[in-house]
């Protein structure tokens, strides 16, 4: 058993000052602040430490790294910094959160935990496009993580779906493996930044852009993904793209399913509502980062919100002592 695990087990009966649900940029930044002030801090992470940032190939717009930084490296740096000040990270899932008297109870895969305050920082996951073939061939030709699964497509043809930063960034990443990439963009222009669009133009030998093109179906032949059927919106005509695999980057959906029954109010797209102190509708439960209603879905804003939430939590904990 690791030393960290022993310490968490030894303290599992206690009431933590703050438990953070998620260990992406928002929670890890908050943990730097709270643990540095001796606020006992435990984070639960069910996926990758660093969240979606950790599975992003390259991050060019995070301040302080003039040449950019690999997502995995940024995630590792954030983890090291939080742990340096004494934050504990438990690899496990939180199934429910609810207020009970003067504390908050969490039901987790590691057992029940209690905290005086909770920070919800569960971020988002990649949204599905919901077309025939997507679910059926998930992991066998349909993917949402280029840095994980791109290596299986050496010298193969790919389609990348989406027109935002992630789609363009990951399409560029995939050129290191694929022989050719069709980039299918539903809109008449990219939502990706000008910088990324400029970078994309350096890869015209491998990437063909199709604006105004919907993705209607992912078709397999002999149980292998074979082509994508789309529609050119300008002409209404069906088009086919022969591919060996499809990578989907069409936006994000919040990880808030576990909040059902918690009393935490969500907005119409299931993001967590907060007040000006980043507190949710439940006293002592705060939210920061991509999961928060009004978030700008940027790593830099997530780390900033994490720091703000930490200061608000400190103030809340101080008030409890009075």
């Amino acid at each position: 058993m690791s030393e960290t695990k022993k310490k968490i087990d030894a303290h599992s009966h206690r009431i933590w000052d703050v438990i953070m649900v998620g260990a992406g940029p928002a929670a890890l930044s908050a943990a730097v602040y709270t643990s540095r002030e001796d606020i006992t801090t435990l984070l639960f992470e069910k996926g990758a430490i660093g969240g979606l940032a950790a599975v992003t190939d390259w991050i060019d717009n995070y301040p302080g790294f003039p040449k950019g930084i690999a997502g995995l490296e940024l995630a590792e740096n954030l983890r090291l910094q939080a742990e340096r000040f004494g934050a504990y990270i438990e690899l496990g899932d939180v199934m429910s959160v609810k207020r009970s008297g003067d504390h908050i109870e969490l039901d987790t895969t590691s057992g029940p935990f209690k905290a005086r305050a909770v920070l919800l920082a569960t971020g988002s996951d990649w949204k599905k496009i919901g077309v025939p073939g997507e679910k059926e061939y998930f992991g066998r030709g349909v993917h949402y993580c280029a840095t994980c699964d791109g290596a299986f497509y050496r010298d193969k043809r790919l389609a990348v779906i989406g027109g935002g930063n992630s789609a363009v960034q990951e399409a560029i990443f995939l050129t290191r493996y694929a022989s050719h990439i069709d980039l299918l963009v539903r809109g008449d222009s990219f939502r990706a930044s000008e910088v990324l669009q400029h970078e994309l133009k350096k890869h015209t030998d491998k990437i063909t852009v199709h604006l105004n093109t919907t993705t209607d179906e992912i078709v397999a032949v002999d149980n292998k993904v074979d082509h994508v059927v789309g529609t050119r919106k300008t002409t209404g005509k069906k088009v086919e793209f022969p591919v060996d695999g499809v990578f989907v980057f069409v936006g994000l959906e919040p990880n808030t399913q576990f909040l059902k029954g918690s009393g935490v109010d969500l907005d119409e797209i299931k993001l967590v509502k907060t007040n000006g102190h980043l507190m949710t509708s439940v006293k002592g439960i705060f939210a920061a980062g991509d999961v928060r209603s009004g978030a700008t879905m940027q790593i830099a804003s997530a780390t900033g919100e994490g720091a703000t939430a930490a200061l608000e939590i400190r103030e809340y904990l101080d008030d409890l002592k009075k």
Binding site: M1, S2, T4, K5, K46, G47, A48, I49, G50, A54, V55, D57, A70, G71, L72, A75, L91, G92, D93, T109, G139, R140, G141, H143, C145, T147, C148, D149, G150, A151, F152, Y153, R154, G245
Partner: protein, 82 residues
Amino acid sequence: MAKDITIYTTNTCAYCVMVKKWLKAKDLTYQEVNLDEHPERQKEAFEASGQLAVPVTVVTKKDDSKEVIVGYNLAKLAPAVA
């Protein structure tokens, strides 16, 4: 209890890092097959998992039966190595 654990990974896969980190935290040893360094073994990973994805963790148990877990999936990993 697992007799042998093999993980198929790539250099850029964050979930691969998480599986390794989790196994280390459990004091479990494993062999790693990096598919960026050994692309010729991709077929082996696909045949084990049926998926074109990493991480693939193959747990060989004491009775030589095998359990294959794709991704960083603690709900499946934990009982497989128990």
